[in-house]
């Protein structure tokens, strides 16, 4: 699918999110350029603007590849989200839960206790938590969440 006419940053932002929802992965800069009929340079500039303006959309340091569009991660993490044959990566347990809520599907989250290594599986059924083992820990106070989002 390609888009024509005036391209607004918001159109691309939404398309990136839809791409994550539908495929479980981020579109590459080339895929964005192809879809919106943009030059590589204009895609790079657009992605930098989205990084500055679109809350939670970050590029891999030193590149123009998407790292995360919160709650989705473009790289594998310790939070694998599955719904039937579909799967996504969440940036943290908060984001993993948010993916199921945002996509509006039942499914499961596979992770492990960072201290003991014990596998923990969370599941959502009929829009509600069906299995909720463990306890959540926020190490970083809210006012510092975006200082180092990778650690947060």
């Amino acid at each position: 699918m390609t888009h024509s006419g005036v391209i607004h940053d918001g159109d691309v932002r939404l398309w990136i999110y839809r791409h994550f929802v539908d495929t479980g992965r981020a579109p590459s800069p080339v895929e964005i350029a192809t879809c919106f009929q943009l030059t590589p340079g204009s895609v790079e500039a657009l992605l930098r603007r989205l990084q500055d303006e679109a809350d939670g959309l970050l590029l891999l340091p030193g590149s123009h590849y998407i790292w995360m569009a919160e709650p989705f991660s473009a790289v594998p993490t310790s939070f694998l989200v599955r719904s039937g044959p579909r799967q996504w990566w969440g940036n943290c347990i908060w984001d993993a839960l948010a993916i199921l809520a945002l996509v509006g599907v039942d499914g499961s989250i596979s992770t492990a206790c960072p201290n003991s290594g014990q596998p923990l599986q969370v599941s959502v059924t009929n829009g509600n938590l069906a299995a909720a083992p463990g306890i959540v820990h926020f190490a970083v106070p809210a006012r510092e969440w975006w200082r180092d989002i990778g650690f947060t």
């Binding site: 809350d55 919160e70 945002l102 201290n115 003991s116 923990l120 463990g134 306890i135 820990h137 190490a139």
Partner: protein, 75 residues
Amino acid sequence: MLLFRSEDDIMEWCRQRHIAPGAVFDLERLWRLAARWYDDRLDHAWRRRSVPERQAILDEVGLTGPFWRLTRSSS
């Protein structure tokens, strides 16, 4: 934000990293927060939420107190 087996695991994990324990709560509350925090991301008219709007969401799910203040000056 990580999911631990128990509070003992949290304390041990923090001790090994020489960091102070942060905030602890159950998945039910995080589920409510997660659903609410991101509920606009697939909206075409999405716009960045203001700090007061974000603070209101934290308040909605009962995350109040200094740890959950998004700015030093917000009350």
